[in-house]
Symmetry: D2
Subunit: 211 residues, 4 copies
Amino acid sequence: MRILITGFEAFNGSRINPSAKIVEQFHEEQFLNHIIHKVILPVDNNTAGQVVTKKMEELKPEIVLLLGEASLRPVISLEKVAINWMDYRIADNSGNQIADQKIDEKAPDAYFSSLPIHKIYHQILESKIPVEISLSAGAFLCNQVFFTSLHYLKKKNSSTICGFIHVPPLPEQVVEKNITSPSMSLELSLEAIVIALRTCIHTLESTSSNH
Amino acid sequence: MRILITGFEAFNGSRINPSAKIVEQFHEEQFLNHIIHKVILPVDNNTAGQVVTKKMEELKPEIVLLLGEASLRPVISLEKVAINWMDYRIADNSGNQIADQKIDEKAPDAYFSSLPIHKIYHQILESKIPVEISLSAGAFLCNQVFFTSLHYLKKKNSSTICGFIHVPPLPEQVVEKNITSPSMSLELSLEAIVIALRTCIHTLESTSSNH
Amino acid sequence: MRILITGFEAFNGSRINPSAKIVEQFHEEQFLNHIIHKVILPVDNNTAGQVVTKKMEELKPEIVLLLGEASLRPVISLEKVAINWMDYRIADNSGNQIADQKIDEKAPDAYFSSLPIHKIYHQILESKIPVEISLSAGAFLCNQVFFTSLHYLKKKNSSTICGFIHVPPLPEQVVEKNITSPSMSLELSLEAIVIALRTCIHTLESTSSNH
Amino acid sequence: MRILITGFEAFNGSRINPSAKIVEQFHEEQFLNHIIHKVILPVDNNTAGQVVTKKMEELKPEIVLLLGEASLRPVISLEKVAINWMDYRIADNSGNQIADQKIDEKAPDAYFSSLPIHKIYHQILESKIPVEISLSAGAFLCNQVFFTSLHYLKKKNSSTICGFIHVPPLPEQVVEKNITSPSMSLELSLEAIVIALRTCIHTLESTSSNH
């Protein structure tokens, strides 16, 4: 199988983004005998969605796993829903701050993740890693890339599964910002993402072997 | 030097206590050429204070580092003050639930930690570990053991330095309780405690070498 | 115009529900020369949606304003999106606890509120009442009634506007539950709801006068 | 009896301080046949303590009730303990930002409130107002005025009772700061303070009638 995994570059004054750090850890472009393609997305309203859909066009991956940072959440967040809406609380890295606007005027209001998030949830819990199913990926670039990807796949009538997972900040980011807020170690977040990916692969393999 | 480091047994339905796990990690009874004595304290109104003061009596340590778990705090908490008050929100492991009562009717209202907590704070920050100076150790057994120890040392006119550090729950505890709340890995909490201990030793060494 | 306003009965061990209290305050069945119909909905998976759609069938209201309680939120929450999903953390008042299930297998994944929530947001802010646009109405009965109503109106191709607003608990509920958590006075929540309703009416009136 | 009640002027960019608003509500200088003196204190490291001790010197009040704003707390906070320490996270209104310093080098580490805070707690709860006993008044000017007052009374060997109560921000302040955080209406906070004062008076009256 071909797997596309994406993270975001740093934003909002931070020098690091845990989602990019996690993506970097997949240094061999191979995972359980499958090929992993990695992309670090720009935090930019105009280009982020294009970069990911162009990659999907090019690679035709069976699995698309999008990662991002959720700055105040204490646990791994498996996102349930992507919404057709932008309402940025802060500007993106190019200075754009979009308010109350649809991502695509002709698209539906929202799409559910097509990853097996309930299975992933239970697999991560079994490994003793704090995790939740989240009902909002926000209205910034994480949600935008999530929605754009699902809408692209829908239009293509694709069977590719695609979803978004938010990870907490790294401990060093909490120190950098000098706030008293939750964090998660890179090791633990990475372990959760590996479990998520493995669960996606197993689900697709067992589905195809049923035919 | 002789160092006494204490943690607590598990309580409130949890099967583990990160403070006990940290204490266990000091498996060799030696640390930077100093001797470490370890005690796991009971979560019991009647005995916890006695166990720690008896150990101090017996060992005459130069440093007393008391550890405990703070169930909802996201960062390492260096406690500034121990208060002469008990007001338990939950029962201890023996079923005692004390309300609005002094620990010692004849003792002062409070004592400040005698550890160099500002130095410790900056040392831990430099290692990129999330940390705060906390102004309340609660009114349960953590505070009680902290106050009892400082009062004992004061009465003895001792030069021993003594303080309390709260650590966040471990990730597996958050999973065990099935809540969305902060945690910190054992590795990171342990690293913070090692830094705290090293800073205490260096402070005492540089103080004594000045004489 | 005909206006349907709904609240929920008490649930989860509380004896009161602020949404029902607010609905009760509209004691005259008249509001700015418009007719208000009030319904208190059961916290019941099987009947809540039916009660509200039957009322819409019967009354043909131009505005449907659904209210509910959000137990830990400190401000008025204008809900942006209703999702086609149930995942109850607690049982409803009839003991049903639905996990990971669609509300309607044949319906879309989600609908946006059709109330002018950005206008409402700014009107409430101008009155100095704490308010936010919320991106999740949860996966319990509030969301279910919200989704069911929007789906019903969509199928009818109706021009009725419909949305959901969550209000914080009342101060007396925080006392009842003996927790340290946010609340809002009935007066302030009611004022926000009156502003929301007035904004809906004005929006429909100015829209129709444009034709 | 003579009662001194104090609040603080606005600080940290806010145009209002709920503690000053509450003090202003006691417009008649009379309360249950007792005389109320009101002072609004400056948020200034150098003068705040002096203003309050000078007033105590001048008035010889039997009751001193100090009020302040706690910016993120959702309930009325009856402060248990004042500590001999300053560690400002923000500068005061004169630009002073004190770090890690005792208020008075020769004073004890801390004093407990001498108000009957457990009685007050239960009286406020009975009136269905959210309230807690707080174990930290911070390390800014609220705590400083609290500590300075208790230390002054101790040195005078005075029988005056004195304590500090923190109130949540007003709803309009949350709007002003554009954050999603808790607030309490002026009416409710004021009611809690009236109950606190009445409980103090009754306690002193019943104590003196016992002699």
